[in-house]
């Protein structure tokens, strides 16, 4: 398994070439803060897991990428998964849904709770622009509009995903193998805990606060994808808990999850150690799998940390990241502002930059020989 080089002209030329109908693709995008995965399941069927937007235009990268391949989201997108509602995974997801009128949208079942509906209803009054809950509210508004007269919107979505639920499937036709998409989480125990967590976040009078999510999520949807004999595990931001009933532990011990080993692994929660479950590598992945991740350049210690990178590199030598976790030089401003900044700010850096992109393509008949292309600063670790 050899990566196909970085920004070589060859890779650039191939960048906007769609995969063959019998070829699977996993494209992971991350501009520094934010993550979106776009997956081809053969036969022109695509799914999107989470959304992030281009710095500047705020366009969701998933829709733009499909358009660059010459595809219409309207005809190609079958399924949109909102793995959890944190800002770095949800921005632009309502625009993705808007562009895909025939796609099913699936969300963590934790969001199907009175508590989360209250947070959603509150988002219009939140004293900050663009909280994750507002994006979710926009999703519900689109579904409400889409529901035919006399039909309850719940009939068209969202699908409230729980562990071991099949979210989508297609049978084999000709040279194109069958494909299936499963949610591996959240577990029943995680749902209860998550809903209690939302209750604590309900609006009260007092200091204006925004949820700062620096930790992994117990109710995130990890996704298992089957394409013939090729399997993909997308770990979202699912946490590794010591509680055996939640997080990765619950998945490992589940008797109901799909069997098999994954060739491609989207490392959970930007490589952090609190989302790391060693048993995932030994029981759910092929030896030396192709592992990909996005950074999370926020907080005193951005992810992945150097220790995370060493830990992951000890498990596979095929490790790729969409961007370096060190940030970018901030934009230049008015000279008076620049001078005031120099006098008042101790440290400063831009936390989103070019839309890094790791693209993995595989023939279902040869799941161990992958083609990896790296764009816009994505690199091998």
């Amino acid at each position: 398994m050899k990566p196909n080089g970085s920004a070589s002209s060859l890779a650039k030329r191939a960048r906007h070439e769609p995969p063959a109908p019998d070829e699977a693709e996993v494209s992971l995008f991350g501009p520094g803060i934010g993550e979106s995965a776009v997956v081809h399941l053969g036969g022109g069927d695509w799914i999107v897991i989470d959304s992030c937007v281009e710095t500047g235009t705020r366009e969701p990268v998933a829709v733009k990428y499909l358009a660059n391949l010459g595809l219409h989201s309207e005809h190609s997108l079958r399924l949109i998964i909102v793995s959890h509602w944190h800002d770095d995974h949800i921005r632009g997801i309502s625009s993705v849904l808007q562009a895909a009128p025939h796609a099913v949208i699936a969300c963590s079942a934790a969001l199907n709770s009175d508590e989360f509906f209250q947070l959603t209803a509150f988002s219009r009054r939140a004293m900050t622009e663009w909280p994750g809950t507002a994006e979710f509210e926009a999703v519900l508004a689109i579904l409400e509009q889409r529901a035919p007269a006399g039909v309850r919107p719940a009939a068209i979505g969202p699908t409230w995903a729980v562990a071991n639920q099949r979210l989508w499937q297609r049978s084999a036709t000709g040279s194109i193998p069958s494909a299936e998409v499963y949610a591996l989480s959240p577990s029943a125990a995680a749902l209860t805990l998550a809903i209690n967590g939302f209750a604590d976040m309900l609006p009260v009078a007092g200091p204006a606060r925004k949820l700062v999510a620096l930790t992994p999520n117990q109710a995130a949807v990890a996704v298992w994808i089957v394409f013939g004999s090729f399997n993909i595990l997308l770990g979202s931001d699912l946490e590794a808990s010591t509680n055996p009933l939640i997080g990765w532990h619950a998945i490992i011990t589940s008797q109901a999850r799909p069997t098999g080993l994954a060739h491609v692994f989207k490392v959970p929660h930007h490589g952090s150690d609190d989302a790391d479950e060693p048993a995932v590598w030994t029981t759910m992945l092929v030896p030396n799998p192709c592992a990909v991740l996005t950074p999370f350049i926020k907080g005193p210690s951005p992810l992945p940390r150097p220790t995370d990178i060493s830990r992951l590199k000890a498990r596979t030598n095929e490790l790729y990241c969409t961007a370096a976790p060190k940030g970018w030089a901030p934009p230049r401003r008015d000279p008076a502002v620049e001078r005031t900044l120099r006098e008042t700010v101790r440290a400063r850096r831009a936390i989103s930059g070019p839309m890094g992109h790791v693209r993995i393509r595989a023939q279902h008949s040869a799941p161990n020989s992958l083609q990896v292309d790296l764009f816009n600063g994505a690199h091998r670790l």
Binding site: T55, A121, A154, P203
Partner: protein
């Protein structure tokens, strides 16, 4: 009297008409300014008052929810426009060159780390900054916690004689107390969403 716009060239703010020019102070003679520069409001010393105007108005305005207490004006949605007299009492004014909305991420010994979004140029990427705790106003200290939201602005303070001083303003937000009616509305909307989309497990 020449309009103060000639003196500097503020950063273009795609969302905000108002900020393409300096925000004029209450102290200026406004008679010779174009009609659309009358967009400011009754000065208020209570920065915690809830917003008025519709969400759409607030967004078009681009400067909604912003206060600079102690500076002598409060930028607010343009619903309550006060036509000022032609010869008002002179006052100090503040020219905004740059503003951000920030969220506190973590607090260290004598500094705090925050992520700031550029409100002057929304096309700019988010930035992470480390600021000194000492720059936080005494009255705002108890609001400083992870997740706390603040407004941060830089510009010039112009005194009565036209003298300029570069200044930065850091103000933490307080949520206005939700009224019983607000809470009732939120619960009613949540109930509506549950009826439309909820699935009993």
């Amino acid at each position: 009297m020449a309009a103060p716009t000639a003196k500097f060239n503020p950063v273009q703010d795609a969302r905000s008409e108002t900020l393409r020019r300096p925000i004029a102070s209450l102290g200026e003679s406004l008679a010779d300014q174009p009609h659309d520069q009358f967009e400011f409001v009754v000065p208020s010393l209570s920065p915690e008052r809830p917003l008025e105007g519709t969400e759409a108005e607030n967004q078009t305005n681009g400067i909604a929810r912003e206060t600079f207490s102690g500076i002598g004006y409060e930028a607010r949605p343009a619903r309550r426009i006060l036509r000022l007299p032609t010869a008002p009492v002179p006052r100090e004014r503040f020219i905004v060159l740059q503003k951000w909305e920030g969220t506190v991420i973590s607090i260290e010994k004598d500094e705090f780390t925050a992520v700031v979004r550029d409100l002057t140029n929304p096309r700019h990427p988010e930035e992470q900054v480390t600021l000194l705790l000492g720059d936080v106003a005494d009255g705002d200290r108890q609001l400083l916690a992870p997740g706390a939201i603040f407004y941060w602005a830089m510009g010039y303070k112009v005194n009565l004689f036209g003298g300029r001083e570069r200044v930065a303003s850091l103000r933490f937000r307080r949520l206005p107390a939700l009224t019983a009616r607000d809470l009732r509305d939120i619960r009613r909307e949540a109930e509506r969403l549950r009826e439309l989309f909820g699935e009993t497990r």
